[in-house]
């Protein structure tokens, strides 16, 4: 019969019209992403040893990090990711030996202004070390400095969260 395909098409659309809808009411209902999703970046500052492997692994030179030598260790003072150039490929996360850089499942990274997009994960001053051979005064200074730095880092990390 001539119109058979046409009638079959009508039947399919009729069934779909009465069937289940696939829409997710997005801003009011959240979408659950899978655990491996490449979302927003999280840097665990205590684990980071400022080796710079992540910055070298990036195809687009997105990561800019600055470090300063405090005592015997390297101290991370600035860690900025230029998200507007990021490919979200995951090479940096894969390159980190200490598991410090990770992806989260946050998908909202949009901002109102272009200048707010750049993700500053760490921006803190290096602590002062009075005398290097004198361990005793240096120890309480070093003990105070991480506490101060932790507060500063928490404040810096919270600011992008509020906007995002």
């Amino acid at each position: 019969m001539f119109g058979q395909g046409l009638l079959k098409g009508l039947g399919i659309t009729w069934k779909r019209m009465l069937g289940k809808k696939q829409t997710v009411n997005y801003p009011y209902a959240k979408i659950e992403m899978f655990p491996r999703y490449h979302g927003r970046f999280l840097l665990d500052v205590d684990k980071c040893i400022s080796c710079g492997l992540c910055a070298n692994a990036c195809p687009n030179k997105v990561i800019q990090l600055e470090k300063q030598k405090v005592g015997t260790k390297q101290y991370l003072t600035k860690y900025v990711m230029r998200i507007e150039y990021c490919l979200f490929c995951g090479m940096c996360v894969e390159a980190c030996n200490k598991d410090a850089l990770k992806f989260s499942s946050t998908i909202d990274m949009n901002q109102y202004r272009r200048s707010w997009v750049r993700l500053t994960l760490v921006d803190r001053p290096a602590p002062k070390v009075e005398e290097i051979p004198a361990e005793a005064p240096a120890k309480p200074a070093k003990a105070e400095a991480p506490a101060k730095a932790a507060k500063a880092e928490a404040a810096a990390a919270k600011a992008p969260d509020k906007e995002g």
Partner: protein, 351 residues
């Protein structure tokens, strides 16, 4: 209850004005103005409702939810659309033919509104009861052709010109099957008065005695209103929007919102009146007023049009012409022949 609501309203208005001492001539003029305003309001309100219905139906067929944000179930969405379109800029390109360009969206709404004055909404409820109602209706709906062509020519755009040429070819070719399908109905009833045609369907609706004519009228109606599968005028994936490409803001709203849905309303109403029994109740269920039956049938036919729209792809220009001239016209001529012989035989037998 509200069986004769419009008739009662007009009688009340006449009485009111006669009581106030208005002379008879002015009485009739004021009533005519009220009727015209009511018709225009009806068409405009329906166009707004149809915008919402089309989007919701389209979404449901594509297994998604349509507008839902503004108002409950998104019912206020068309109002937001209208406000947005009214605030948009109408961009005039460099070499457009200004008078024709600006006149086209204004004139496009006129033929459907004129046609709507003739349709019977219920028992005795016709704005203008003309003896050659059907003939007048056909003449008026064929005026839309030149207005689309005006829009296509004035835009100074090759895509619009293509669309305009296509629209002339399509609308002229598909008027012939449309009119010939109606001829079968006219032959059976012997009158062109629309109320007379509705009353002649008291025994059995014409969709059962003239199924071929109904099918051809439906297909030609889709072609006349430029909807898919015959929407190569406003191609969307070939010629972007055909004649309407250069219009923005209110011009766009006139073409897509008012003109398309007003034309759809006219064709669906003609379908209901000619084939589906107008305001007559099926199985004699008189407890629902006649004008409610008319609206129910009208929206059923509109639903059929929309269902067909979102299912089928679009056909090509030369296939359109082949289909119109080589398939539909012979079908309708055969239908007329069969109807004629049927009537003759019935009369000869003496039924």
């Amino acid at each position: 209850m509200g069986e004769t609501i419009f008739v009662d309203l007009t009688a009340w208005l006449r009485g009111l004005m006669g009581g106030l001492g208005v002379p008879d001539l002015y009485n009739e003029i004021i009533l005519m103005v009220v009727k015209m305003t009511a018709v225009i309001l009806f068409v405009a309100l329906n166009a707004i409702w149809l915008v919402y219905m089309e989007r919701k139906l389209c979404a449901y067929i594509q297994s998604r939810v349509g507008p839902r944000h503004h108002g409950p179930l998104g019912l206020l969405q068309p109002i937001f659309d209208v406000v947005k379109l009214m605030t948009k800029e109408i961009i005039l390109s460099k070499n457009v033919d200004l008078v024709v360009f600006l006149l086209a969206p204004i004139l496009i709404v006129v033929p459907p509104i004129v046609a709507y004055g003739l349709l019977p909404f219920g028992k005795g409820m016709v704005a203008i009861d003309m003896n050659i109602g059907l003939f007048f209706l056909v003449a008026v709906t064929s005026l839309s052709t030149i207005i689309f062509w005006m829009a296509g020519w004035a835009s100074n755009n090759k895509y619009s010109l293509l669309g305009g040429m296509r629209v002339v070819a399509q609308m002229v070719s598909y008027e012939l099957p449309l009119v010939l399908a109606m001829l079968g109905v006219v032959m059976i009833t012997g009158t062109m008065n629309l109320s007379g045609i509705v009353e002649a369907q008291n025994g059995i609706w014409f969709i059962f005695t003239q199924p071929i004519a109904f099918l051809v009228f439906f297909i030609a109606g889709i072609a006349e209103t430029n909807r898919p599968p015959f929407d190569l005028v406003e191609g969307e994936s070939e010629i972007i929007s055909g004649p309407y490409t250069e219009y923005g803001g209110m011009g766009f709203a006139m073409f897509y919102g008012l003109a398309e849905f007003a034309n759809l309303l006219v064709i669906s109403s003609m379908c209901v009146v000619l084939f589906l029994g107008g305001w007559l109740a099926p199985f004699g269920w008189d407890f629902i007023p006649s004008w409610v039956w008319f609206f129910l049938k009208l929206y059923l036919v509109i639903f059929l049009f929309m269902w067909v729209r979102w299912t089928y792809p679009r056909i090509r220009v030369d296939q359109l012409m082949t289909f119109g001239w080589k398939v539909l016209v012979p079908l309708t001529l055969a239908n007329i022949f069969i109807t004629g012989t049927g009537i003759y035989i019935y009369r000869a037998i003496g039924w």
